[in-house]
Amino acid sequence: MSAEVIKAEGLTKVFNKSLVAVDHVNFSVKDGEIFGFLGPNGAGKTTTINMLITVLKPTEGKASVLGYDVVKQANDVRKLIGVVPQEYTADEDLTGYENIILCADLYGIPREVSKKRALELLELVELTDFKDKRVETYSGGMRRRLELACGLINRPKVLFLDEPTLGLDVQTRAATWDYIKRLKKEYGMTLFMTTHYLEEADALCDRIAIIDHGKIIVTGTPHELKDGLGGDIITISIKENADVTEIIRSVKHVKEVKNEDGAYRIKAEAGELTAPLIIEALREKGYTVTKLSLTEPTLNEVYLEYTGRAMRDTEESKEAFISQRLTLRRARGR
């Protein structure tokens, strides 16, 4: 097996001949790493995952998982991967145990193997006590864990997790992260996950690709991406309604200035020393600084840097995302 477990080349999906959900995406995932697809809702994450797990056919380009083509050798791919979908797909009318056995049957795992393995997995995700209860009675966290267990029933070489902590509260999210880390350690799997939580990508992923509007904007380790920003970020607002970009740029150590609706995003080395100099420079010209913040780079800054908008969506963009998502869902035929 090559070291590249997943490889996508020019992978593209167009819905209804007009909606480009994924636009000529290239990436590769190495053996044993956790690779994260980070992007806002509607960026094309789920569409990409659905192509990799052979549920959707790419419009253009190709992708392979463990050396098998996702279209031509779809069945070989399916046998070797596990999928933890975004939705709670377990059947509510069945018990947790019955759900896992159902998954096992779909893979054609012999019953004597699957019964034993189901109990092991239920133990792993701490659902043993609830295995004979109907999924209807499960909480969100329990359902998510059950999905994890279902996704692992065929001992997959690659596990795909689509928004594994979507809709979970903070504690449950942290617990889920622990499970994911443990899985990677115990089974030595390669994990491909999508998320729109920056902390999640930062905490879990070995490498991240930031995706927006169907395109990969940047790929790297969280560390590389943060380093790539080349310094701290200073954000300044002034009282006056004037463009002071040039003034700020003239200050020593300032590398880059961006005016974003009256707030200036300044990239600078040694931010804690540069910030007072900027205030000084502005005051000399008669401007009053009303707000200042200094941040060491986080993925949020990386995200902002590359997509030009904050990850935490404003109300307005949230609406846009929702409508985009609805269109996508409709196009996917949901």
Binding site: M1, N50, I53, T54, V55, L56, K57, L66, N75, D76, R78, K79, L80, I81, V83, P85, Q86, E87, Y88, T89, D91, D93, L94, E98, L102, C103, D105, L106, Y107, G108, I109, P110, R134, C150, N154, R155, K157, F160, R330, G333, R334
Partner: protein, 318 residues
Amino acid sequence: MSGANEYKPSLIRGLWALTVRELKKWLKDPVMVLMLVLQPLIWMGLLGKSMNIGALFTSGNLENMNIPNMTIPGTLVIPNVDGNVTIHGAVISQMLQQMFSNIGTNVMENAFGVADYFSYMAVGMISMIVMTTTMFSGMSIVWDRRLGFLDKVLSTPVPRGAIIFAKVLNATLRAMFQATIILALAYILGLRLSSTFTLFNLLGIYAAIFLLGVGLSSIFIAFSLRSTRMERPMQIISLVMMPLMFASNTFFPIKLMPDWMQAIAQVNPLSYVTDAVRQLTILPLDSSALIIDFAYLGIFAAVLASIGIVLSWRYLTK
């Protein structure tokens, strides 16, 4: 590479697993079973029992008729008499009553084939329950898709055919079970079986139900797969159900319908299921009619299942 051939996902295994899932879901929702049985039961109990068509032709319906004295030419009576003959109204009335007291059964047997309307329409309820059950259970695929279950199943190596066949099989099995309940209820409520009925005939009934179920559910599943809203299949069900019921021999014999309606009833698969089930239960078995019924149902099932499965297949492998 290890693992790739470790497991053997097979059509039968997957079909069985997915069908068992559906049946488990079904058994855990007895209310749904009850609701679907209730509708034909109400039809049967109220319409079947009240529409006592045979009773229309009984002497009781001629009481209080004031029939005047009637004068007819004497040449009409035997032996011929010169001049006119007058018959008392009361005599005519009595004669009519005598004639009518036996005519009801004859009319029923000539038009409906059986003496009581209840038996006639109760059997028709079997095709009704098969239709509603197959359509409603085919609809569950809309939920499977919306809840992401379908995508999850599609990401496993289970043969795609198993996904579709499981739905068809589930719908058909449910229909057969529901039909059994209806038949049992009809029997309790007074269905009169013909002398040619044997328990062996039940196999024929199930075969007819199976064919209708497979045909209807395949096409309905294909349709449900493509409809993004739960409401669509519902609307189709309510739109399609009544016309199919009434333009068939479910309630009334085809030969008494207007021509245009006869044309519909002749191609309506419900007519053939109902006729087959009637042949096997309440009518003296006419094997040539039964062969035609099954030939038609076989073709119907084969054509609709092929269309439905091809459409679903295309959708699932898009």
